[in-house]
Symmetry: C3
Subunit: 356 residues, 3 copies
C-alpha cells in the first residue's frame, strides 16, 4: 500500500512543476465536464419533480411550487446546454492542439474515467429535454452516437483491468472508477427511455457486473488517491442511484431490486455524511473536483422522487423533499463558489486534475 501511494503522488508533483504557465486549453481537461454533469443532473431532477406533480396534480401541496420550478427547469436546461457546448468545444480544441495532453489523460488511472463524463452529460441533457424538442431531433442517431463511445471506452478500460498486469484493477481502482459504470447506467436509462430494451439490458448488465467488481475492490482497499479527489467519493452513493434509475426504466416499475439499490444509496449517503473529517482535507481549496459533490446528490434525489411515487406516505415524501432540497443547496453552493473562483478555475493550474 505504501508503494501504491508512492506511485500516485510522485508524478503529480513533477507535473505541477513542469506546467507553470499553461494556456486555457491545457487546463480544460475532461474533469471540467463534471460541471456539465451536475448541471444536467439538476435539470433532470427539476424535470422529474415537475412531471411528478403533473401526475399527482391537485393532491400534492407542492403544486404551487411548480410555478417556481418550471422557469427554473428551463433556465437549467439552457445553462446546461450552453456550458456543455462551450466545454465540448474547448475540449475538441484541446484534442486538436494538445493531443499529447489528451493521451496523457487516457493513460492516467484517474483521468481516464473522466473521459466518460462528456457522453454522460449529453445523455442527461437528452433525458432532460422536453418531448416536443426531442421529437424534432434524430433521437435514435443521437443516442447511438452517445452510447457507442461509452461501449468503446468500456471495452478499452475493463479489458485493460483483466489483461494488463500493470493496469490491473487492484492497482488503478479509485473512487473515479465509478464513472464508467455511471456511464453504463445512464446509457441504459436513456436507451430504455426510447424502448431499446435489449440495448438497455446489455448496458445495464455490463455496468452492474463491473460495478460489483469495483465496489468490492474499493471497499477492500481504498488507499493511494489524492485528498483533492475526495469529493468524488460521493459517487459511492451516486452510482447505486443511477443503477436504480436505469433498472426502474428497464423493468418498467420501481420494484424490489430498485428499492434495494435506493436503500444502498441512502445508507452510503448517511455513512459519508457522518464522516465530515474525511472531507476536511479536500475542502481547503476550491477546485473543479468539488463539482463531484453535486450530481451524486441529484441522482439520489431523482431516485427518491420515484421511490416516493411508488411507496406513497409521509416518510417517503419527506425524504424526497429533503434530498431535493439538499441537491439544490449543494448545487447553488457550487454555482456561487465557482462564480467566486472563476479566476482560479480558468487562469490558475488546478493541481487536482491537471496533466502536462
Amino acid at each position: 500500500m505504501a508503494n501504491s501511494i508512492h506511485i500516485v503522488v510522485e508524478p503529480r508533483k513533477t507535473d505541477e512543476a513542469a506546467a507553470p504557465a499553461s494556456s486555457l486549453l491545457t487546463r480544460v481537461n475532461a474533469g471540467y465536464f463534471t460541471i456539465c454533469l451536475s448541471l444536467g443532473a439538476q435539470a433532470v431532477l427539476l424535470n422529474t419533480l415537475i412531471s411528478d406533480n403533473d401526475r399527482a396534480t391537485t393532491k400534492s401541496p407542492i403544486v404551487v411550487a411548480d410555478r417556481v420550478l418550471g422557469p427554473w427547469a428551463v433556465l437549467m436546461l439552457w445553462l446546461s446546454l450552453c456550458t456543455l457546448a462551450l466545454i465540448s468545444c474547448l475540449y475538441l480544441l484541446r484534442c486538436c492542439f494538445h493531443l499529447r495532453l489528451v493521451k496523457a489523460e487516457c493513460s492516467d488511472r484517474v483521468a481516464v474515467n473522466f473521459l466518460f463524463v462528456p457522453w454522460i452529460s449529453w445523455l442527461l441533457l437528452l433525458r432532460a429535454a422536453p418531448h416536443r424538442v426531442l421529437a424534432r431531433l434524430p433521437h435514435e442517431v443521437l443516442l447511438w452516437a452517445l452510447v457507442a463511445p461509452i461501449v468503446a471506452l468500456d471495452i478499452k478500460l475493463y479489458g485493460q483491468w483483466v489483461t494488463s498486469e500493470k493496469r490491473s484493477l487492484s492497482a488503478v481502482a479509485n473512487p473515479t472508477s465509478h464513472l464508467p459504470m455511471v456511464g453504463n447506467f445512464v446509457g441504459a436509462w436513456a436507451a430504455a427511455g426510447v424502448g431499446w430494451r435489449e440495448t438497455a439490458l446489455c448496458l445495464f448488465a455490463v455496468g452492474l457486473v463491473h460495478y460489483v467488481v469495483v465496489f468490492i475492490t474499493l471497499y477492500q482497499r481504498l488507499t493511494g488517491f489524492r485528498a483533492a479527489l475526495r469529493p468524488v467519493s460521493f459517487l459511492f452513493f451516486g452510482t447505486p442511484s443511477a443503477a436504480c434509475l436505469a433498472w426502474s426504466s428497464i423493468s418498467g416499475g420501481f420494484g424490489v431490486a430498485c428499492k434495494m439499490l435506493f436503500f444502498l444509496s441512502l445508507f452510503l449517503l448517511a455513512s459519508l455524511m457522518c464522516r465530515p473529517a474525511y472531507f476536511k482535507k479536500s475542502v481547503k481549496k476550491f477546485s473543479v473536483a468539488w463539482w463531484a459533490y453535486s450530481f451524486p446528490v441529484s441522482f439520489v434525489a431523482v431516485a427518491s422522487t420515484q421511490y416516493a411515487e411508488e411507496v406513497k406516505g409521509a416518510a417517503a415524501g419527506g425524504l424526497m423533499l429533503l434530498l431535493s432540497s439538499l441537491s439544490l443547496l449543494v448545487f447553488v453552493a457550487m454555482l456561487i463558489l465557482t462564480a467566486l473562483n472563476t479566476d482560479r478555475l480558468l487562469r490558475q493550474n488546478d493541481p487536482s486534475l491537471s496533466f502536462t
Copy 2:
C-alpha cells in the same frame, strides 16, 4: 500477510500480561452475549418446529414429539431471557465502571463485531416470544430500540471500512465480520414479521451488499486471526441461513432466492464438516468463543424447516430432522461444557476475547 498476523498477535500478548487479576466485570465482554444468541436461536428453532407441526397437524408423525418440544421451548425461552438479562446487566455495569475496556472493544477489529450480538439476541428473543405475550408489549417501540443501534453500528463500522486507511476491510476482515450482517438480517426478519416491509428491505439490502463484500474478502484471504476464534468460522454457513430467513419473511414465501441461500449454507456446512483438522487447534481449551458453534447450526436448522415446508418430500424432511438434531446436540454439548467450565469462564481470564 505476515504483517497482519503480527498486528493481531502482539497486542493480545501484552493484554494478557497486563490483566492478571481482573474482576468479573473486566472479563464479561460482548463475546459473552454469544451464549444468549445461541440460547435465543435454539428457542426460535423449537418455536418453528412447534408452529410447523401446528400447521401440518395430523399428517406429520413428529406430532407426538410436540409434547416434548412444548415444555422444552418454554424452558429455553425462560433460560434465554434470564441469561440475556443477567449478561446485559453485567455488561451495563462494565460500561459504567470499565468504560476504558468497552472503548478498547470498540476499537478492536474482532471485538467490535461482537457489539452487534446483544441486539441480535434481544431480537431473537422477541421473535421466539409467544404472540399473547408480545401483544401486551409495546412491540414497535421495542423493535425500534433494537434496530436503531444496529443501524448506528453499521454506519460506524461499514463507513470505517471505506474511509479509514488503517481500518480498511482487507486489514480487519475476519470471520466475526459476519456478525454485523447477521444483525442486519435478523433485524430485517423481525421487521418483516411485524409488517414493516420498507424497513426490512432496507436492512436486508444493506446487509446483503456488505455480506457479499465480506464473503468475497474472506474467501480471498482468510489469514491472521487467532486459532481460538476458529469456532466463529461456523458463521460462514450461519449467515446465508440468516439471510434466507430474512428474505423468506420479506418476500412472504420460500422462493428461488431463499433456496439458493439455503443451498449455499448447506454447501458451506458440508465444506467445513469435511475439515476437522481446521478446528483441531481451537478445541484444546474451552472458551466462550465455542458458543459460536451453536447458533449458526440453529439458523441452518430453522431454514431447513422452512425449506421442508416449501418443498415437501422425504429428503427435505430428513434434512430438517438431521439439522435440528445436530443443532440440539451441539447446543446440549455446549451447555454441559459450560457447566463443567463455569470456573474458567467466570474466574479465569479468557485469552480469546479479553481486553484490558
Copy 3:
C-alpha cells in the same frame, strides 16, 4: 505478486527437467480432456441448431442447412464419444500406474481445476445424445455418477480456499479456476434437463456464488500464470454462457437474468477479441491448452441460439449465425492443428500442463 510468480514458475522448471523420457501415460494429464470438452460442446451446439430448426420449421431459411448439420452432428457425437472413451481409459491407466502424477495434479493450483473436465465432458455428451438412446440408458444413475464427483471436488477445492492459508484463493486464482464453476453449471443444466429442479438449483447456487468470488478475484489481480495458459482466458466469456444455459434450463425460459449473463459473455468476448496482443505469447507453439479456445465459443454460440429463439429479429439471428460460424471455424482449426501436431501432443512433453 512477484512472489506468486516465483512460486509458480519454479516447480515447473524442475518438473520439466525431471521428466525427459516419459511414456504416453505420464503425458496424458487431465488437461487432455479439454479436447473431449470441445468435441462435446460442438456436438451440443449442432444438436441445438437442429432442434431449433425443428421448432421454427419452414420459417427459417437455414432449414436447408439441416441436411448438412444432421450428419455432421451424428459424426461429432461419435467422434466425441470415442475420444472421450479413449482418453478416459488412458487416464484410468495413468491413475493405476502413475498415481504419484495424479496426486501431483491434485495439489497443483492449475491442474486441479482440469480434474473437473472429464465429468463435464461426459455430462455434455449425455446432453448431446439423442432422446431415443437416452431412454434406453439408466439416465438417473449416470447423472448421479457424474454429478457426485463434481460436488466432491467442489467441497475439496472451495473448502481449501477458505480454510487453507497456503492455498487461499488469492494465491491460487487463475483463469482455469473457472472450470469448477463450469462443472457446476453444466451439472445444473443436465439436472434441470431431467427435472431434478432442487439438485439443479443447488448446483447452480454453489456455482454462481463461487463464480462471483473467482470473477472478482481474477478481475482484481490476474498475475502469475504461465503465458502458455492464456487460451484458458477464453473461459472468461465461456463461464457466464454456461451459467446462462443452466439458468435458462432451471427457470424454464430465457428471462432477464439469462439475458444479462449472455450480454456479459458477449461483452467479455468482445473485450478479449480486441486484445490480440494478449494472446500473442501463447500462440507460438501448439499445445493441448489451445483446445480451450474452442469450447467457450461453443457455449456462447449455444446461448446465442437460445437468445435468438427468445428475442427473434435480424440482429439476434445474425449474432447466432456469426457465433455458430465462429465456433465451427475455431473448432475445425483446432482439429487441423491437432492433426498436424499429433506427434508433439503424444510423443513430446507438453510443458504447459505436464507433471512429473
